[in-house]
């Protein structure tokens, strides 16, 4: 059973990539950031500013060159592949922009994919996934395949998949990139509510200016640095 009230902390994290020729891309360049339990934080920034790298670091998918990534006080920056997989499976819920759903596989079975990776029997995994689909308004569409679902419904299936194992950290990469504004709003509201209810930290990478009003906190990332943070205010200001 997972224990809530864990925070995500990034301390002086550095991640560089080799660019073309001798150039080095400073994707993340000494960032420190804390996302507290129950806090839903947005990360804004232009393309190439290092937003996705930040998510990859938080999910222990890549290791930083310097600094530490802590979750619940545990350093996750240099986990082995197996430990990293276990961390993502048990602690992290990840929502993608492009959903990455299995075609021709029901919404319910798509939602169970993390549970079966944990070794649950399929029937048990389905039993545990169904309430999440119902909560996300997909109870009647649980047996439908992604091809028969709208874009908004597909994104909700992807969210259900991220949440079924009751993660302690929610990471989202442009989750509203393929949705209209109404669906975007609903989706972000849902993610925020889950963070609040479950008291888990949530980190969102987005370009969506309307997201700001639903966030507890928003940061701007530019050239690998946190260029500014706002607790409240006009998203246009944040983006500028």
């Amino acid at each position: 059973m997972s224990t809530p009230n864990a925070a995500l902390e990034l301390r002086e994290v550095v991640k560089h990539y080799a660019g073309g020729g001798a150039e080095t891309v400073r994707a993340v360049d000494g960032i420190s950031l804390t996302v507290s339990p129950g806090e839903f934080v947005a990360m804004y920034g232009p393309s190439g500013s290092g937003k996705t790298t930040l998510l990859l670091l938080a999910a222990a998918l890549i290791a930083p060159e310097a600094g530490r990534v802590l979750f619940d006080g545990r350093d996750v920056s240099h986990l082995s592949e197996r430990e990293g997989a276990r961390y993502r499976l048990r602690d992290v819920g990840f929502v993608f922009q492009s959903f990455h759903l299995m075609p021709n596989t029901s919404a319910l079975d798509n939602a169970t994919i993390k549970l079966t990776a944990e070794g649950l029997r399929l029937s048990e995994a389905r039993r545990r996934a169904r309430p999440w689909l119902e909560r996300l308004g997909l109870g009647a569409r649980a047996e439908h395949t992604p091809e028969r679902l709208s874009m908004g419904e597909r994104q909700r299936v992807a969210i259900a998949r991220a949440l079924v194992n009751e993660p302690r950290l929610l990471l989202a990469d442009e989750p509203t990139g393929n949705l209209d504004s109404r669906r975007s709003h609903e989706t972000l509201e849902l993610l925020r509510d889950i963070c609040h209810e479950s008291a888990i930290p949530g980190l969102l990478v987005t370009h969506d200016p309307d997201a700001r009003e639903l966030m507890d906190c928003a940061y701007t990332l530019r050239d690998g640095h946190l260029a500014g943070s706002l607790q409240t205010g006009d998203p246009a200001t944040v983006l500028s």
């Binding site: 996705t52 997989a85 993502r88 993608f96 299995m102 079966t116 990776a117």
Partner: protein
């Protein structure tokens, strides 16, 4: 402004078509190469099989044509002893004759420093060139003015190590002769004869070697214009019911009949290869489908209309199909020259068949067309995106691939069609066994029809499996299969077809070999030792025995010596194998080959005069039942026999007639044996007996002394060699299928890296993903194996029934479970072994790839 060299089609300049394809090649070279290689392999397979199928008759046809030249009618002997040469002079003088030539054909062996080769010796007169026969650029009448020599084609000469001017040993009619090689003929000089198992000599030389002075076996005649009918009547009058008068092309018809079962089996393989080829091409194109669809959407968004997009798609498919198919034809040509060019020994013993690989333009066209059509059809799947009402950029927003999923309704329909096909084939084949080959093709299609249903069954069983097997790999594997069901079906279809063909044809081949083995064991089991003319597998080459029988009978340990006689006899479209057994033989017919009749009674009848055991094909052609009479054309005229038993064909497709040697001597007017059967006294060691018989023969080198076991093995080897092409095609089909599936799976796995990366982000580790990929591959291959195996065993049963009923072959049906298991294991292991490495690499995809959609 109009440019005649760069016209517009549907508003698109031709140069733009090339330019866009060049761009595609630059950006997607790897996918294009993969698709191209899949198509090329498929075309190579189809081409190789088609060439193998046509080369036998074509090379024989070319050879026969080269010998007969412009002759249209022939007078032929009914036995190897031939007829009086003076008849040829009589024919030459007939008013309707424009040109004629006498020929003596005799089966002999030629021994050189490097080996021995069985050939058909053609004794000809220089006048044969008047018929345009043996027509060459500079081999006119003068070419035959060599003295006492033998002309060998390059193939035979190199096989035995003979050179012009050197001496070789000719083993003919039970005697050995040293003969000088007059010439070795190369391809440029002698065409089809160069690769044929023949040897040419002047008629007089050939007569001396064959021990047939003044005899010929054939007179080739070119009638004067308009005199055909009258001349034929004249020839019939001369033949007097003791010789055959027939069109010169008859021998090819006889050959066609002899190789029909083999041809039909190869045709079935050809059909299967075409289907496999189409699936390979389809699959190769499916792999490039996602980005082709994006290309279509891009074009539409840039303002291209439907017709233009269709034109671009078709042009690119044509370009790929044409280039890949040409490469495939070249590959297939190499394949057929390496694997399928051997002439079955049993056929070359009865027909002058060349080993030349003959490629007809229509064969090239068929294989090339298959490749291009398959490519174009498969490449049209992105055209689904051009449907009315479909958003131009729909591809960018959808999950799963259009055309990659087979609907439940389609799966049910296909499954039902598959079951209906099995039922239909069963009824069809029960009523008309001759239609078994058509049924075989229908069963191959059935394999494809049933595969989607089996995949659906596995997907449906997933909840059950998921409750009993805790395996994340299983869930991912089955989900992935559901996601790409079209591709999975295509891959499993390739495996299924290959396994079906291999098991059905391979099983029938196994039955046939077992049946023939049993027949030959009993056939040669009537004596301990056989004395014959070396390479004569049918015991049809006669020799003068003289005092030989007495000498052998007096040899220590010998109990008895019996004269066996036999020959080949052309009756209608059949070149029958006449077997004349001594009445004192312990068995007159092979017990295992008896289809109708009582063995003891038949044996008793055959020991008397006027009875014959006939093979079922001949019997059904003549509507013969036990006790019925029939007549055979013999050298002494028509001979009447009564049917004592109906047998299998003992492995000789045109059929056999078994009589006793007294009747043979009477009707064929010869006492010369074609083999001597020697029985040893009880307790005499077979090796010692053999030495004693050899010693009794003295210095006579033209005969070979072999134990029944050795003769048995020689015949069995010949049977296996005759069916080798089928085994080769079967093996190649399996290898091609295994490799094609493995490479296609590898490419498919590689394309799926983004989805695998997303699973990694969800918490799957590399080993889980690798297991899932291997499991998915194993399920795909397994589905093909199971469906192909089950339908294949059924096809095997039908093929066995066809062999027995329609062709008269001995083919007792029996499943070879070890062979089936080995086939299935081999293809699975090969596919999995090949997929393991790219699967491993794909499972190590960096999670970052999940963000690069």
């Amino acid at each position: 402004m109009r440019n005649p060299f760069n016209p517009r089609i549907c508003g698109v300049r031709v140069s733009m078509l090339f330019h866009l394809y060049e761009r595609r090649l630059r950006s997607h070279l790897a996918q294009e190469l993969l698709a191209g290689s899949g198509i090329a392999v498929a075309v190579a397979l189809v081409f190789g099989v088609l060439v193998a199928n046509t080369s036998l008759t074509s090379s024989a046809g070319a050879l026969i044509q080269q010998v007969i030249g412009s002759a249209r009618v022939q007078l032929t002997a009914r036995s190897a002893a031939g007829f009086d040469q003076r008849l040829a002079s009589t024919v030459e003088r007939l008013p309707g004759v424009s040109a004629s030539a006498a020929v003596l054909r005799e089966n002999v062996s030629v021994a050189g420093p490097h080996g021995v080769k069985a050939v058909q010796m053609l004794g000809v007169t220089p006048g044969i060139v008047n018929l345009g026969s043996l027509d060459t650029y500079n081999f006119g009448t003068g070419g035959f003015r060599f003295s006492g020599g033998l002309i060998l084609p390059a193939l035979v000469a190199s096989a035995i190590g003979a050179k012009p001017g050197s001496r070789v040993t000719v083993l003919a009619a039970g005697r050995a002769h040293r003969v000088r090689i007059g010439a070795v003929l190369s391809d440029s000089l002698f065409g089809a004869l160069t690769s044929s198992p023949v040897a040419i000599a002047l008629l007089g030389v050939a007569q001396r070697l064959a021990g047939l002075p003044g005899r010929v076996t054939q007179v080739l005649v070119q009638p004067r214009p308009g005199a055909d009918r009258a001349l034929t009547q004249d020839l019939r009058r001369i033949a007097g019911g003791r010789l055959d008068v027939a069109p010169t092309g008859d021998e090819l018809r006889l050959l066609d009949q002899a190789i029909e079962p083999n041809s039909q089996s190869t045709e079935l393989f050809s059909a299967i290869s075409v289907m496999v080829g189409f699936l390979l091409a389809l699959n190769a194109m499916l792999l490039t489908m996602p980005e082709r669809r994006r290309f279509v959407a891009d074009l539409r968004m840039q303002g291209y209309d439907r017709r233009q997009v269709l034109l671009l798609l078709s042009f690119q498919a044509l370009a790929l199909g044409v280039v890949a198919s040409l490469i495939g034809v070249a590959l297939g040509d190499a394949l057929s020259s390496v694997f399928f060019h051997r002439v079955p020994t049993y056929l070359s013993a009865a027909f002058p068949i060349g080993a030349k690989q003959i490629v007809h333009p229509k064969t090239v066209l068929a294989a090339f067309g298959c490749g291009v059509i398959a490519t174009v059809l498969a490449s049209l799947t992105p055209a689904f995106d051009l449907r009315e009402g479909r958003a131009v950029d729909a591809v960018f927003r959808e999950s799963g691939g259009m055309g990659e999923i087979i609907s439940g309704r389609a799966t049910r329909t296909l499954g039902l069609a598959g079951l209906a096909s099995i039922a239909l084939v069963t009824v069809l084949v029960l009523i008309t066994p001759d239609l078994t080959i058509v049924g075989g093709v229908a069963l191959a299609l059935t394999t494809l029809l049933l595969i989607p249903a089996m995949f659906a069954g596995i997907a449906r069983a997933l909840p059950w499996m998921g409750d009993h097997i805790r395996s994340s790999a299983l869930v991912v594997a089955v989900s992935e299969l559901r996601a790409t069901s079209m591709r999975a079906v295509a891959l499993a279809g390739i495996v299924g077809l290959a396994v079906y063909g291999s098991i059905a044809i391979g099983g029938a081949r196994g039955d046939l070999i077992r049946g023939i083995d049993r027949a030959t064991t009993q056939y040669f089991g009537t004596a301990d030792i056989w004395v014959g003319t070396g390479h004569d597998i049918f015991n049809v080459n006669q020799f003068a025995s003289g005092r030989m029988v007495g000498a052998i009978a007096r040899a220590p340990g010998v109990a008895s010596v019996r004269s066996y006689q036999g020959g080949l006899l052309d009756v209608g479209t059949r070149r029958l194998w006449i077997r004349a057994r001594p009445a004192r033989d312990p068995e007159m017919v092979e017990a295992s080959q008896l289809l109708h009749g009582d063995l003891a009674r038949a044996t008793q009848m055959l020991r008397q005069s006027g009875w014959a055991a006939v093979s079922s094909g001949f019997a059904s052609e003549r509507h013969l039942h036990l006790g019925d009479t029939f007549s055979l054309p013999t050298p002494s005229g028509a001979a009447t026999f009564r049917t004592a038993a109906i047998m299998t064909n003992s492995g000789w497709p045109p059929g056999t007639i078994t009589i006793n040697n007294r009747d043979y001597s009477r009707y064929w007017q010869t006492a010369d044996p074609s083999a001597l059967e020697v029985s040893l006294r009880p307790g005499v060691n077979i090796a010692a007996g053999r030495r004693a018989v050899t010693a009794a023969l003295g210095s006579r080198q033209g005969l070979s002394v072999r134990t029944s076991g050795e003769r048995d093995r020689q015949s069995e080897e010949s049977a296996r060699q005759g069916l080798e092409t089928l085994a080769e095609i079967s093996t190649l089909l399996l290898i091609a299928a295994g490799l094609a599936v493995a490479s296609a799976l590898s490419a498919a796995v590689w394309q799926r890296r983004a989805r695998l990366a997303s699973l990694k982000i969800q918490g799957y580790d590399s080993s889980q993903l690798w297991r899932a990929l291997l499991l998915e591959s194993a399920i795909t291959v397994g589905v093909g194996c199971v469906i192909g195996g089950v339908v294949g065993v059924y096809g095997h049963a039908l093929a066995g029934r066809w062999l027995t009923l329609a062709t008269g072959f001995p083919a007792p049906f029996s499943i070879a479970p070890a062979q089936v298991a080995l086939t299935l294991t081999l293809i699975t292991v090969v596919a999995l072994a090949v997929i393991a490495i790219p699967g491993f690499a794909a499972s190590r995809v960096p999670a970052r790839a999940g963000f690069q959609d």
